[in-house]
Amino acid sequence: MRRVILSIVGTVAGLVALLSFKSHLPSVPSASAATSGSAGTSSAGSPASSASASSSSSTVPGEFPQGSLAGKLAAGETAVNGDVATTVYGPVQIQLIMSNRKIVKVAVLQQPQNTIRDIQIGEFAFPKLISETLTAQDAKVDAVSGASYTSAGYIKSLQSAVDNGG
């Protein structure tokens, strides 16, 4: 079963969506600058990863509904569709439901349909990276030997988490 974890870093002008796929799918950080058509000056989503930390690598934080929520909006909500992001595994498109300039819901409009074989440990999903941070901090170690991180944006913060945590 495929599960999608969505981490949103928002800016005023648009959206950068980072997507990673759990378990038997490769994790693909992909950035797509999506400018919303009508949302105009809607303000950003949370600046940091919204994937909640999980200490178990089998727990998936944040499953998001598939398919548009535009037909099920509550009062004051608007649907904002991001651009289609092209990843090596296929197209990805998300939809944000905004209310009062805040992101209240997220839906996935398009996600890759291909089944891809398991990938090497060298490719990490954010939840795995986050859980590694927790484990290293729990054990109060000064450094971790033997793992490698390919997510360039995460390398520094993970090591600094260990550096600071000890």
């Binding site: 690598s57 090497q120 484990t135 109060k140 170690v141 000064d142 450094a143 030997s145 793992a147 490698s148």
Partner: protein, 236 residues
């Protein structure tokens, strides 16, 4: 190198830290196989002779040959047929960086290059350094913690960028072990031996046992583990 290096140093070593960082950048510029204009890349494709390269390259090649001889050929500067002494260079560069900090007067510091760590002195008064070893079979967790002072820890395995460590005798990726951790006093050889041990697979245990001053802990692809007889000294 594509490696993040992290320093844990006393505050007064700021200048020495700058020198150590410049050293690492120089090593990268000279030895990186990802840079077309590095000495390693140019020498590797036959564009220059050894004499035209930094003298350190000759030092590294001689050392690689020595480790190769000590390991029955399991350590090589030409893994998979292409010229790449990184298995020696990384540990050597980190150990040298740590030595620069020692020369600057620090008695307690550690330098960590992508998970290969050189620790100098204690962590603090009466405190040992604690190095977590990633579990190669359970991503995001630690398999164990090793503790020590004045020591180096290096781990080779599938947790690093996939099965990129080639068994020089078969030309195929080494697969018997999921990871092997070697502990010794200096990171240069500790790192080279970890790479070697991983390529050796089951034979690594006896080989590391035969080495004076080095201990190993390995996790097999099946999830079992072994350790050399002196490894217990590093367990908390």
């Amino acid at each position: 190198m594509g490696t993040v290096v992290s320093f844990d140093v006393p505050a007064f070593t700021a200048d020495a830290l700058g020198r150590a960082v410049r050293w690492l950048h120089w090593v990268d510029a000279t030895f990186s196989t990802y840079r077309e204009d590095s000495d390693v890349s140019r020498y590797g494709r036959g564009a220059v002779s050894l004499a035209e390269c930094a003298p350190e390259l000759t030092v590294v090649l001689d050392a690689c040959r020595a480790v190769g001889a000590a390991s029955g050929g399991y350590f090589t500067a030409t893994p998979g047929g292409r010229f790449d002494p990184s298995g020696y260079v990384k540990g050597w560069a980190i150990e040298r960086a740590a030595a620069m900090l020692t020369a600057a007067g620090s008695a307690e510091h550690s330098v960590n290059g992508g998970g290969d760590v050189q620790c100098v002195g204690d962590r603090g008064p009466g405190q040992l350094w604690r190095i977590g070893i990633a579990d190669p079979l359970r991503s995001g967790t630690l398999a164990l913690v090793v503790t020590g002072r004045d020591f180096a820890v290096a781990t080779s395995g599938v947790a690093e960028r996939g099965s990129h460590i080639i068994d020089p005798h078969t030309g195929q990726p080494a697969t018997e072990l999921a990871s092997v951790t070697v502990v010794g006093s200096g990171l240069t050889l500790t790192d080279a031996y970890a790479t070697t041990a991983f390529a050796m697979g089951p034979a690594a245990r006896d080989w590391v046992e035969s080495l004076d001053g080095y201990e190993a802990f390995a996790i097999t692809a099946r999830g079992t583990y072994w350790q050399t007889s002196g490894f217990g000294a590093y367990l908390p």
